[in-house]
Amino acid sequence: MTGFRVSPICDAMRLAQRATSEKMAKPSSEESLIATEREINQMRFAQGNSSGHSTTLGITDLSFLTRFGVKGAAAAAWLHAQNLPIPDAPNRWLPLRGGGLIARLGFNEFLIEDSINSSIAPQLIELSQHPPAKVYPVLRQDAAIALGGSLILDLLAQTCSLHFRALNLSECPVVLTTMVGVNVTIIPGEIYRIWCDGTYGVYLWQTLLNIIEEMQGGAVEFEQLLPL
């Protein structure tokens, strides 16, 4: 892979940063307000560093994690042949050995995402270049977000119509729903993971961040909300 990609959320961060520096008469010495840009897995992304906020409510961009999508009647069997664990029902997920996760989005559709240290998704992308019958790779260009902190359920109550408190987390649920009008995939837990189509990334991020800031939270470095 050559060149680099830009996170679908990067623009939201850049706009926010520009607005902040315009608001301040002269460039502030208070570096903490300024987002920094980083690059991981050939993806450029920006992140906030209001470090203290993750205890109440923090949000971070995880779009840079590598991921792979696949669907088709033979997708489950094919993934099994690659030694991946298969969640036994739609809307369930399982952790992967070595980090990352596999989510079953329907009878025949799956999302596999790496952790910061693993690299299963690029291998699967490679292997699926010449897929067997009834296995169809799905291009995933998600905006991927993580949320954490003590007020997370209050945030979800404002932005989704689903009663998250009622979920049984020991069943490893995956929730397909809408959040502020955008179709999203959510994995609840200690940290909440959210995926949506990349083209909605800026809108979803800005809208969530507005509410989060009202609740005294903010954008944080991804290390504070790193998934398993």
Binding site: P90, N91, L105, G106, S161, L162, L176, T177, T178, N183, V184, T185
Partner: protein, 87 residues
């Protein structure tokens, strides 16, 4: 808030769904004359009643059948296409 139960994803607000029209069995176009084909394409069962309809849960793209009273907007039953009897 109006709720519909998706057979896969459970009970959700109607805003998560799109309506796909009444379930209709279309005959083989080759076997029909133009007039009958026009009826199949254009004519609808427009009076209120309990109808079997296509609905889709959009976040998961799940298409299913809902039996709904179109006079009162009550959904009586929902199931995946072809799985009516298994319930």
């Amino acid at each position: 808030m109006k709720l519909i139960t998706c057979p896969i994803n459970g009970t959700r607000p109607v805003s998560e769904f799109v309506y796909g029209g009444e379930l209709r069995l279309i005959s083989d176009p080759q076997a029909l004359d133009d007039q009958t084909w026009a009826e199949q394409v254009f004519y609808r069962n427009g009076a209120p009643g309990i109808k079997k309809e296509w609905w889709c849960h959009v976040p998961s793209n799940t298409w299913f059948i809902a039996e709904r009273n179109t006079a009162t907007d009550e959904t009586l039953n929902t199931y995946l296409y072809g799985e009516e009897d298994s319930r």
